[in-house]
């Protein structure tokens, strides 16, 4: 059973969404619908599965429906049609109390525009989720302080959000989401306002957290490198439609259409592609010159062994952990794999 399952979800914004549904089902696209009915298609027949413990990254241009999608998971937005199943329960079946309980304990969220409470101090903001869970003040403050430290904001705990810079505010939002220690984290462009150094640091922290705690994370970003670094799976949205879901390598090696192609065009492929992806198996590699070989591990990224190969103008022998030869990569192969698009 998947942790989160989204089945045929439609979301239409406007006065009378139901009246537009037939048109959308028949395949009218976002522009046509807007022009003819004045309704905005937020999501158009989106289905996907997110497994426990994985980081699912959602990408797409501005206005493609990423924030709308993530808001469906904790029902900040109700779908016009379709179902959202979290841990086997349809979230639409919750009554008020159940929904509140679900939000308090199962999910936490980082908001694109931070969504901090301007009248609360940093520590009160960070402790908000715990406060809602009904924890004692002492415990709230202790946990909140830990998280404030984790995002590097110690010393600012008694400031108000408006006294902080954008990046600092974003980290407060991050700490607030981390504090409740919920299974599922929804992160809407959680790192977008951070400078490159802190951003990279936060990405690393998130990866460490993942390897330790195995949370289920839904992460929205505009930055392809970030999505490749963090994502176990990546979903790409275009005008409300989910155009492709796959592993980072899938997306880069086999983009589903021109939209995805345009997206991955500028990516540093050497950073993403592992040796085992492009190697030729031992059977097919008779034509490769094996006199001057360099050994690489199958899980190494191209980036890591590229300089060696280029300098010595040699071919690669790919081995697994225990040293068995799995295949070969010719110098030429390497070049084409880096430029192919």
């Amino acid at each position: 059973m998947s942790k989160i399952e989204i089945n045929n979800v439609y979301k239409i914004f406007g006065n009378n969404p139901q009246s537009v549904m037939p048109m959308v089902r028949e395949g009218a696209n976002k522009e046509e619908v807007l022009e003819q009915t004045g309704h905005t298609v937020g999501l158009d027949n989106v289905s996907l599965k997110i497994e426990e413990g994985e980081t699912f990254v959602c990408m797409g241009l501005s206005g493609s429906g990423k924030s709308t999608l993530i808001r469906h998971l904790n029902r900040l937005i109700d779908p016009t049609d379709g179902e959202i199943i979290v841990e086997g329960t349809n979230v639409m079946s919750f009554n008020k109390e159940q929904l509140i309980d679900f939000r308090r304990h199962k999910m936490s969220m980082v908001f694109q525009r931070f969504g901090l409470f301007p009248h609360k101090t940093v520590i009160q903001n960070v402790g908000y989720g715990l406060e809602m869970q009904g924890k004692q003040l002492e415990e709230i403050n202790k946990t909140a302080m830990e998280k404030i430290e984790a995002v590097g904001l110690s010393g600012f705990e008694n400031q108000f959000p408006n006294q902080l810079s954008g990046g600092m505010q974003q980290r407060v939002g991050l700490a607030r989401a981390l504090a409740t220690d919920s299974d599922i984290m929804l992160m809407d462009e959680a790192f977008s306002a951070l400078d490159p150094l802190i951003r990279s640091d936060m990405q690393k922290q998130l990866l460490d957290l993942q390897s330790e705690l195995k949370k289920t994370i839904v992460f929205i970003t505009h930055d392809l490198d970030e999505s490749l670094r963090l994502g176990d799976h990546i979903g790409i949205l275009n005008a409300g439609k989910l155009v492709q879901v796959g592993t980072p390598v899938d997306i880069i090696m086999n983009p589903a259409d021109d939209y995805v192609k345009a997206f991955v065009k500028d990516v540093n492929r050497a950073k993403v592609i592992k040796a085992k992806i492009i190697m030729k198996s031992t059977k097919d590699s008779d034509d490769i010159d094996k006199t001057n070989l360099i050994k690489v591990n199958e899980d190494q990224f191209i980036e890591e062994f590229l300089p060696q190969i280029v300098c010595s103008n040699s071919n690669c022998e790919v081995v697994d952990k225990s040293g068995n030869v799995k295949g070969y990569i010719s110098n030429k192969e390497l070049q084409t794999s880096l430029t192919k698009s």
């Binding site: 808001r71 904790n74 900040l76 509140i100 309980d101 679900f102 939000r103 308090r104 304990h105 999910m107 936490s108 969220m109 908001f111 694109q112 525009r113 931070f114 969504g115 901090l116 409470f117 301007p118 009248h119 908000y128 989720g129 809602m132 869970q133 108000f160 408006n162 006294q163 607030r176 409740t180 929804l186």
Partner: protein, 343 residues
């Protein structure tokens, strides 16, 4: 059932039409000037030309008068009770302020301003002098100003008690808002004498109809600003509260109200100013206070006296305005510390 839902608008309009026809028929049959025979109207069409025909007259006046009479006769005890409660509250406030030594009252105002304004010395001193000058202009003004203030305080108290919950209810449901908004429009546009006079008939001359009138006149801005203040809270902040599982109550008291407070304070400030204006007008129905000094001055053609009383009213307005306004500003600074102090 389904058909009824679909054609809701049509049914509604048919209903309105029926009411209109019924009004026409009853007005015609109750009219004393109607022609002897309805047939005459169909033979002789002269009523269509020239003046408005005398028989085409909705007897709203009679209806209201008779309704008012039964109200007074049957439910008089309710108004009596309201009257007594309000009078008692008024006496309490008034006697307290009048019996206190005047320097103590001024001191009280100064202390109040000091804390409300977030310890701003300038505002505090200014307000202190304004208060002093009210009595300084004419010794009798001191007591009159206190009488006026007492009526206002009770009026504002009623406004806050009724207005803020009403504003909250409006912010929460669009339907409630659609019902209440026209009522507020009515309260703000209807000439105040239209409810001052019935007020006298129900409560007698004096302070109580003035309090009621003050309430009707001053409550709309408070309701509107409470509603607006709550709805203006950033949607993503509300979403954040929702996302972490705040209940409706926790959201209202923990997030919406604190963030709407500057607007609500603005509403109370507006409410105060309008209440003062109304209390002055109410002097014409025999309410005692600074307003009757103006009236006296005018009746005696004593321009100086009227001007003195006018200035006293302005001073009182300044004092009340500064206290409520600066409290709102202090709040705003707290929630939006971006506008840093010391600039």
């Amino acid at each position: 059932m389904e058909a009824l839902k679909k054609n809701k608008k049509i049914f509604f309009n048919i209903g309105l039409l029926a009411i209109f026809v019924w009004l026409l028929i009853t007005s015609y049959s109750q009219s004393k000037r109607k022609p002897d025979n309805i047939g005459e109207l169909l033979n002789d069409f002269s009523w269509l030309g020239g003046k408005w025909p005398k028989w085409l007259d909705l007897p709203l006046m009679n209806w209201i008068n008779s309704g008012f009479k039964t109200l007074n006769e049957k439910y008089g005890y309710i108004f009596e009770a309201i009257n007594n409660v309000l009078l008692y509250m008024l006496m309490l406030v008034k006697n307290f302020l009048i019996q206190a030594p005047w320097p103590l009252v001024i001191l009280g105002v100064i202390v109040l301003t000091y804390f409300a304004s977030g310890r701003k010395i300038g505002t505090t001193v200014f307000v202190g002098f304004c208060t002093f000058f009210i009595g300084f202009l004419h010794p009798i003004f001191w007591q009159k100003a206190i009488e006026t203030t007492a009526i206002m305080l009770i009026g504002i108290f009623l406004c806050v008690v009724a207005g803020i919950p009403l504003g909250i209810a409006m912010a929460r449901s669009a339907r409630t808002r659609n019902v209440i908004l026209p009522v507020l429009d009515l309260m703000q546009t209807i000439p105040s004498f239209c409810y001052l006079i019935p007020g006298i008939m129900l409560f007698g001359l004096g302070a109580v109809p003035a309090i009621i009138a003050t309430f009707i006149y001053a409550v709309p801005p408070l309701v509107r600003l409470t509603d607006l203040g709550i709805r203006l809270v950033d949607t993503e902040v509300i979403e954040a509260a929702d996302a972490f599982g705040a209940s409706k109550k926790q959201k209202l008291w923990g997030v919406q109200m604190p963030l709407a407070l500057p607007n609500i304070m603005q509403g109370i400030n507006q409410c105060t100013m309008m209440a003062l204006a109304m209390v002055v007008i109410a002097s014409m129905i025999g309410t005692r206070g600074l307003g009757d000094e103006v009236l006296l001055g005018l009746q005696q053609l004593n321009v100086g006296r009227a001007a003195e009383a006018g200035i006293a009213i302005v001073l009182l307005a300044i004092v009340l305005d500064r206290i409520t306004q600066s409290y709102g500003e202090t709040l705003q600074e707290r929630t939006a510390p971006n506008t840093k102090k010391g600039k």
